[in-house]
């Protein structure tokens, strides 16, 4: 049996700067067989190691429907993420995983998909969005609502523009504060609900964003008529092991690293500690 704490070595094959503090890394396992065998669900995450600095949980932003590599979008937020940002193409980092439950996309077969993302939270949603687009005929309507603090903080901007041009996908973007060039929406992401004419009918909502955003979005969706089971969100907690042992990520009896990070609002309400 594999040692749950031992990372495998991957190489950084490509680096794309998304914003001033978010960079997307393309990784491939050095061991080709490992790369071929690596399978995951949208919404799962890996533990990434910069040897000598430490290890952090990062959502996989690529989709399993386009195998052969792994993409991680990482915000420079502290020690390890900062060290990652200093690495160049060809550098090696450790990867353990995939961990967590991932998004329950099977529940959305035949239904409308609503994605609500904030900031770097678009990263795990992007995995699900691209996965669902690669299986387009299994889902009905696509609506993507995305917000960030400023226009300069919007990640995957080119991709979002391309998606916006597709006839079968609706995208809405907003920023908290605009700048001189910005001509789009200004306001928090919930202000997009009426603009996008969101209804709860036959729809599953997938949310990912900073902890402050999530309660507002949930509240907004409930007002529109979404039921607790149809609101699905990721939760973020301090993590060390990713495998349910170190104890850092617990909310009540739930281990966010194993039972989550994706929970329905119904599950969140049943937690003994505040989600």
């Amino acid at each position: 049996m594999k040692d749950i704490y031992l990372p495998d070595v991957t190489t950084i094959d490509d680096i794309t700067e998304e914003t001033g503090d978010v960079t997307t890394f393309t990784l491939r396992f050095k061991d080709k067989r490992l790369q071929e065998e690596f399978d995951y669900r949208p919404g799962q995450f890996v533990e990434v190691s910069v040897f000598g600095v430490g290890e952090i949980p990062i959502s996989i932003t690529s989709t399993p429907s386009r195998p052969g590599f792994l993409e991680l979008s990482i915000k420079n937020a502290g020690l390890v993420s900062g060290a990652l940002h200093k690495l160049s193409k060809g550098a090696e980092v450790g990867v353990r995983g995939p961990f967590g439950n991932g998004f329950p996309y099977e529940r959305a077969f035949g239904k409308n998909l609503l994605f609500v993302g904030g900031g770097i939270g678009l990263a795990p949603l992007r995995s699900l969005i691209n996965f669902a687009l690669d299986n387009r005929d299994r889902f009905a309507d696509f609506s993507i609502l995305y917000g960030s603090r400023t226009p300069a903080d919007l990640v995957f901007r080119k991709e979002l523009e391309l998606l916006g041009k597709r006839p079968d996908v609706r995208t809405f973007i907003t920023v908290d504060r605009g700048d001189d060039q910005w001509q789009g929406n200004v306001g928090v992401v919930t202000t997009l609900f009426p603009k996008a004419d969101i209804t709860s009918e036959d729809t599953l909502a997938f949310i990912c964003g900073p902890p402050v955003m999530i309660p507002f979005v949930i509240h907004g969706l409930i007002k529109i008529g979404f039921s607790d089971e149809t609101i699905i969100s990721t939760l973020e907690r301090h993590m060390k092991c990713g495998v349910g042992k170190c104890g850092h990520c617990c909310i009540g009896h739930k281990y966010v690293c194993q039972d989550g990070p994706v929970f329905s609002y119904k599950e969140m309400k049943e937690m003994v500690e505040k989600a």
Partner: protein, 369 residues
């Protein structure tokens, strides 16, 4: 014939116990209670028999023996960046060890940790985890290679409440051998495993069969020990009920938080607390180790996120967390038992007087101050 022999109780003279330990010392690590510099009794690997603190002034040690299975600081792997890139070498400790004098509460704590970390059935060199449990190989390897020579408690200590936690004062399982002092300088020995039997067979010159009278005496000793707990009651099951249903008023945790100093001592002395932190320690630019160290949910930084958010920033929430984790039914389901084995160490250690029996009692009675 042989099957009968396996069930038989043996008698071991104290002199022979020491001989047995010296024989083990030749080829393996022997861990036993010794006297520390301040006179306190601690478990420690011994070098010679004279180190052992068996004047019976200890019931239990200040620190639990968990550090022999989950060391306070432990290297998980070594990494090295050479011409061909990173190489990662895990470090498992599979040295054969004998732990002498471990108490039933602490053995039950190990059984709890086994379930959580996927420690295999004892006595296997290659540990096997129960299906569905992710195995911590570092813990499981240490555990599988450590013989448990337990000491039943014919005389429980003043803070002990194992009797309320289904974890003592004698073991029914989880030991290779269980020794109980018979009076005089003799121990009566119970056999708990196949590898325990091998100790009998390998050292037949040191043991003799127990007589019927001695066997009867053991039953009496166990009954007498149980009587000695007197009115000790921890009311754990009532507390479990209320904690699981989130029926404990927040004021209790609020009031306790005026006293708690967030020192983490309760977690460190608790034989079932097993949360850890992980850090990298480089030796130079291309080489170093990944280390894990004990951690505690009492610490404010335990749940802190980059950027400063902290979902458990309040002391009352951290106190609630500790007792929730020890007692909530959800964890009983996961780990096979609740997380308190009644060792009483938190009573001894906490200078704010926040201890399991006291809090369980407050929860039961609905007292919040």
């Amino acid at each position: 014939m042989r099957a009968n022999k396996e069930k038989e109780l043996r008698i071991l003279k104290r002199k022979n116990l020491f001989t047995l330990m010296s024989r083990f010392l030749e080829d393996r690590e022997v861990i036993a209670p010794i006297k520390g510099h301040g006179g306190e009794v601690i478990f420690y690997p011994i070098e010679k028999i004279e180190d052992v603190a068996w004047d019976w002034t200890y019931v239990n040690t200040v620190l639990p023996p968990k550090r022999f299975f989950l060391p306070q600081t432990e290297e998980l792997f070594h990494y090295k960046n050479q011409n061909k890139g990173y190489e990662i070498t895990p470090i498992y400790n599979d040295r054969v060890r004998m732990i002498f004098g471990i108490r039933p509460c602490d053995v039950n704590a190990l059984l709890f940790l086994d379930k959580f970390f996927g420690g295999g059935p004892i006595g296997r060199r290659v540990p096997v985890a129960e299906p569905g449990i992710l195995q911590d190989r570092y813990y499981a390897t240490r555990r599988a290679n450590t013989f448990i020579i337990a000491f039943g408690c014919h005389q429980p200590g003043e803070n002990c409440f194992c009797i309320c936690c289904d974890s003592g004062p004698f073991l029914k399982e989880g030991f290779d051998l269980q020794l109980t002092q018979l009076g005089g300088d003799e121990y009566i020995v119970e056999l708990g495993s196949a590898r325990g039997l091998k100790i009998f067979y390998g050292h037949e010159d040191l043991f003799r069969s127990a007589t019927n009278a001695e066997e009867k005496r053991l039953t009496e000793i166990k009954d007498e020990a149980t009587q000695q707990f007197g009115n000790t009651r921890a009311y754990i099951s009532k507390a479990i009920h209320k904690i699981t249903r989130n029926q404990v008023p927040d004021e209790l945790w609020e009031n306790l938080s005026d006293r708690c100093h967030n020192c983490g001592g309760c977690s460190y002395v608790c034989p079932t607390c097993c949360c850890y932190n992980v850090v990298d320690v480089p030796i130079n630019k291309s080489e170093g180790s990944r280390i894990r160290t004990w951690d505690s949910c009492a610490f404010a930084g335990f749940t802190k996120l980059a950027g400063g958010d902290n979902p458990r920033s309040e002391k009352k929430d951290r106190l609630k967390r500790r007792f929730f984790h020890k007692l909530s039914y959800h964890y009983i389901e996961k780990n096979g038992r609740h997380g308190c084995v009644g060792c009483g160490r938190c009573i001894t250690t906490c200078f704010a007087n926040i201890s399991m029996p006291d809090i369980a009692d407050k929860i039961r009675k609905g007292i919040t101050s």
